[in-house]
């Protein structure tokens, strides 16, 4: 039996095998696919866009978590009466809210300075105490009121008015609730500016833009693919950060996911436009990096990412509210935390739209492909 006859012949590669004609959107689809693959394979992008914001939320969320407000640590200066004061506190109704340590003067002073103690109690004599604290520290003021109340009651004071308190610690008013929408806004700005601005200049420097325009590729397809990749990433960013907030910090999201994504899209497009503008002429990635940082830096500080811009003077706030990141952060907060609708925030939405429109208009006039 001949082996050679049994072996199937190698498939011959035909020259110029007819390929189905490419349709109108073939270029767009491939550009978008290629962009998504590139992003997924770029470890730095995955880290900065997805992991970093979560780490930031985790770190800041724990550092600034609401401490059990019902516990204050105080120092009692070592003296013959110190033990008596300690007993009084132990016998008071607030004994679980006050942790008292008997220490010497130097230790007490140091502890107060470092924030270990909120208050120093100096038992001057059997029936006289002196408090030391800094009235600029809210927790010290509170501690003073609490400790004084406990000591007076334990020593025999009778309250003349009957009062009671109902405690409320609502998700929605904590620092983490403030922080997560801010981080989301900042993340949309970062990835919009870098993902569009930096990416374009990098491609220009590598002569890849020139190579692309040497083909029949539609330039609008190219820009649309870039914008679409941003929008897809945006949805993932929003979902991840909100999901993280809900799971880790029991954050309550009042607005609809659809409205949040719509605002996210507006932010992503608006900052994409700014990114396009910064990239319209720059030939070197070094120069566009500088430009992007100059644009973003003021907004990190002013636009209420980590702390409220209410802390700035009123005159500055009018200007701050015109910044795109402020508008985005405010809109995200109002929607996520309060469930505000889009129509109720036309002011912020207009700020975003105007920034986006002006950026795109100028960018497309100035943009260089080579």
């Amino acid at each position: 039996m001949s082996v050679a006859q049994e072996t199937p012949s190698q498939p011959q590669i035909q020259r110029h095998t007819p390929v189905p004609r490419n349709g109108r959107w073939s270029g767009f689809r491939h550009l978008l696919g290629a962009r998504m693959l590139e992003l997924a394979r770029e470890k730095e992008v995955v880290f900065w866009v997805f992991v970093f914001p979560l780490l930031l939320a985790l770190g800041l969320g724990f550092a600034f978590r609401n401490k059990p407000a019902d516990r204050t640590t105080i120092a009692i200066l070592a003296s013959p009466n110190a033990a008596h004061i300690q007993e009084l506190i132990q016998s008071s109704a607030q004994k679980n809210a006050i942790h008292a340590e008997i220490v010497d003067d130097a230790q007490a002073a140091k502890g107060l300075r470092l924030g270990k103690y909120d208050l120093i109690v100096d038992p001057v004599s059997a029936d006289k105490v002196q408090y030391h604290y800094d009235p600029a520290r809210p927790e010290s003021v509170q501690s003073h009121v609490e400790v004084d109340g406990a000591l007076q009651a334990a020593a025999g004071r009778k309250d003349v008015l009957a009062t009671s308190v109902i405690v409320s610690s609502e998700p929605g008013s904590r620092y983490i609730d403030f922080l997560i929408p801010g981080l989301l806004g900042m993340n949309l700005m970062n990835s919009g500016m870098w993902g569009i601005g930096f990416a374009l200049v990098d491609m220009r420097q590598r002569k890849l833009l020139k190579r692309f325009v040497a083909t029949p590729m539609r330039r609008t397809d190219f820009l649309m693919a870039l914008a679409s990749s941003r929008l897809i990433l945006m949805v993932i960013e929003v979902g991840l950060l909100l999901g993280f907030g809900i799971l880790m910090f029991h954050m309550r999201v009042l607005g609809s996911f659809f409205t949040i994504v719509l605002i996210g899209a507006l932010g992503a497009i608006s900052f994409g436009g700014l990114g396009l503008l910064t990239a319209s002429r720059a030939q070197k990635i070094e120069s566009v990096s500088g430009l992007i940082n100059i644009v973003m830096m003021p907004m990190w500080i002013l636009s209420g990412v980590f702390f409220s811009y209410e802390r700035f003077p009123a005159t500055a706030q009018t200007f701050i509210k015109l910044l795109p990141l402020t508008a985005l952060n405010d809109a995200l907060r109002a929607t996520i935390l309060e469930g505000s609708s889009l129509v109720s925030q036309t002011g912020r939405i207009s700020v975003l739209v105007i920034w986006g429109a002006i950026s795109f208009f100028l960018a497309l006039r100035w943009f260089r492909w080579t």
């Binding site: 590669i13 020259r15 490419n22 590139e38 590598r206 890849l208 083909t215 029949p216």
Partner: protein
């Protein structure tokens, strides 16, 4: 049939100062492989990018396949394939993905598999571009041009920096394309490349064509097909006119003490040369003869070598 590539009196001045191209005209016929040969900064890239419609000339006319960039840009883009002097393709895409991306821009591209095998990139089809060798990257660059199924192929220094084997591989690919009726315009500063690959070539210097023709033509025009090179020691210091007067010598040049004679019939020149050296009681330090090359053409025309390295 219109010329595949034609331009008349091209001029390009960068920023109103640098005159990169100064009145350059050429016509390339369909099926021809045409080379632009010239030293660094001669204006080759500027010229080829104007012809590719990527750069606006300061003045002059360009027509590709009888059409103009001003009125038929989209159509022309479908007909031409380009490899730029320096493009860094996305490192995070694979070879196949890159070719498919470029194919997607054309209405009727060649199949990716066919291009992969034509360029011997089959084995590397799933490798990331960032992991390719220089020669493989260069072949991929040509693949992105060939996937267009172009009528005209523009290659700007396709083999610069490649090892001899990779260069020969690319030459084969270019010849195969030409063999199927394609037209090629390439730039190079390698003599051997121009000599072996090009049907016709133009030598460009300072933005102008200083000689044009087939490689054989150009060497023919030099006068002698042969070069006799020798050096003398001792007191034998003779001027060029002495050597010019030897039989069958066409031209003489002196390169740092080495005398080069362009000679038609070495068997007539060399005995006379030896006799002359003897008369002057000088000693020959070395003597060799070789076929004239394009390098000699260039040096004869400009007094400089093509590559100063």
């Amino acid at each position: 049939m219109p010329a595949a590539v034609e331009c008349r009196d091209l001029r390009k001045t960068y920023d109103g100062k640098v005159e990169a191209v100064r009145g350059l005209s050429l016509a390339i016929q369909p099926g021809e492989c045409f080379g632009l040969l010239g030293p660094n900064g001669a204006g080759k890239t500027t010229t080829i990018e104007i012809l590719e419609g990527l750069l606006e000339p300061t003045s002059g006319e360009v027509s590709i396949l009888g059409r103009s960039w001003k009125t038929n840009a989209r159509e022309l883009r479908e007909y031409i394939g380009i490899s730029l002097q320096e493009t860094r393709l996305s490192e995070k895409l694979t070879v196949r993905e890159t070719i498919e991306l470029f194919a997607s821009f054309y209405t009727q591209p060649r199949s990716t598999d066919e291009v992969l095998s034509a360029l011997q990139l089959n084995e590397k089809s799933d490798a990331l571009v960032g992991k390719l060798s220089g020669g493989q990257k260069q072949r991929l660059a040509v693949a992105t041009a060939l996937v267009a199924s172009p009528k005209v192929l523009f290659l700007d220094e396709p083999t610069t920096g490649l090892d001899p084997q990779s260069r020969r591989q690319l030459w084969d690919i270019i010849r195969a394309f030409q063999g199927e009726g394609g037209t090629v315009l390439l730039t190079t500063h390698y003599m051997d490349e121009a000599e072996r690959l090009c049907d016709r070539l133009a030598i460009v210097d300072h933005g102008q064509i200083i000689a044009e023709g087939t490689p054989a033509d150009l060497i023919e025009r030099l006068g002698g097909h042969h070069v006799v090179e020798f050096a003398l020691s001792g007191n034998g210091h003779l001027d060029n006119a002495t050597w010019q007067s030897l039989p069958s010598v066409d031209s003489v040049r002196n390169e740092d003490g080495v005398i080069c004679l362009n000679v038609r019939e070495p068997h007539r020149t060399i005995p006379a040369l030896l006799e002359k050296v003897d008369q002057q009681s000088a000693q020959l330090e070395r003597l060799n003869t070789r076929q004239a090359s394009l390098e000699d053409v260039f040096v004869n025309l400009t007094g400089r070598h093509l590559r100063e390295d």
